[in-house]
């Protein structure tokens, strides 16, 4: 196996490298991917030049993510959601000893009390800040790097921090299994719901333009911008929920009690 692995690896490597001299040079703005080919302008040029006209969103990445390739992103969210459900399906076990109802120290071998006080207090201070920042990242994705995934991960991390600092049941007390499973579904429901709304208004799926009819005080272009914010929120919901779900299941062997 060792030799086979080595040979396979070397062979693949040589194959991959054999094409490298044919590549456009690194950083070349005229490479086919960046600059297009002859009479085929590259789509990325279109994105850079026209995004603002189309959507009024200055962060091109966000616009491409949530609008031009919003269909991709919806399934990306589905992937995350599927992973959460998958981990639940694989690991979650309902049998086994019942979890102690009171939170216990995470680590009794070290001088527990002091640590708990220090960590607990620090966390109490920073967790709201983290969560606030997460919301900012979600909301400000139009203008700065950020968006639903990033914000969702940060928000999920804040709950994981609770679990780390205190213990899992404390975190579950704030964000119970029933809730995070529901929130995961709701997130995609929001995303797909925006798409379906467009279908209901007789446009193609995810064609946000038409939503200006039901959004107050918007024109078609701003409708795109606002809808993008909406779907980003949906993404953030799902990502938050699933990040925490993954942690909760992995850290407790699916029993959702005190960790290892």
């Amino acid at each position: 196996m060792k030799w086979f692995g080595l040979i396979a690896t070397v062979f693949t490597g040589i194959l991959l490298l054999s094409a490298v001299p044919d590549f456009a040079a690194f950083g070349d703005p005229d490479s086919p991917a960046n600059g297009g080919l002859g009479d085929h302008p590259s789509v990325s040029q279109y994105y850079i030049t026209d995004t603002y006209t189309d959507t009024k969103v200055p962060n091109i990445v966000t616009a491409v993510l949530a609008d031009y390739r919003g269909y991709d992103t919806m399934f990306e969210t589905v992937v995350i959601f599927a992973a959460g459900i998958a981990i639940f399906a694989i690991l979650r076990s309902f049998s086994g000893p019942v979890a102690p109802s009171h939170p216990t120290a995470i680590d009794t071998s070290v001088e527990g009390d002091h640590q708990r006080i220090i960590i607990g207090t620090t966390c109490r201070v920073i967790i709201p800040v983290i969560q606030l920042f997460a919301l900012y990242v979600v909301a400000h994705g139009h203008h700065s790097p950020g968006g639903g995934f990033q914000g969702g991960v940060i928000l999920g991390a804040s709950f994981i921090l609770v679990a780390l600092a205190k213990d899992l049941s404390a975190a579950l007390g704030r964000f119970s299994e029933k809730r995070y499973l529901a929130l995961g579904s709701v997130g995609i429901l929001i995303y797909a719901g925006f798409g379906l709304l467009c279908v209901a208004l007789e446009r193609n799926f995810l064609d946000y333009e038409i939503l200006h009819r039901i959004m107050p005080a918007t024109d078609p272009i701003m409708a795109r911008s606002h809808s993008m914010l909406g779907v980003e929120v949906g993404v953030a919901f799902t990502v938050t929920a699933i990040m925490f779900a993954i942690y909760a299941n992995l850290s407790s062997k699916g029993r959702l009690e005190q960790g290892f």
Binding site: A8, P29, Q45, R69, A83, F149, L250, K253
Partner: protein, 172 residues
Amino acid sequence: MEFLNASVIPYFNYWIYVVLMMIGLHAMITKNNLIKKLIGMSIFQTAIILFYVSIGVKTGSTIPILEHHHDEGHAETAHAVAESGDHHAEETDHEKSDHGNNEHAIEADHGIDPDHFANPLPHVLMLTAIVVGVSTLGVALAISQSIYKDFGSLEENEILAKIKQGGPGVDV
């Protein structure tokens, strides 16, 4: 040396990606420990991300976020952006200057010079790939935890031996 100059140095990112990827692939194939396999898998996927992002690099460009002024007109916004981009380009890359001039035609048409912003598409794609990678990793960890629960080991050869024996806990 000539080979280095012609085929390696202009493409060093791609060489690195291939090397990284092969490290990952090798680990996935040959490592005995399931977690090491997963580490290999992560390296493997990260190498692909490096590759994609390398495609989108334009020398002397900035992140693909336009500067945003709510009250000003479209053309003005773009102009401001273009200026700053130009400035940046001249600082970093001399070869690019004449190139930049050629592209002014486009600038006139659309108001925004594509050369000044990194290609956004690979970033979008890789955001997706990262998410997919994380999800796969999560599921893989869950599966390996489940394997550990059943076999009490994460070493592939031990697991296979146990399966062969059909020992306790293994329903064949």
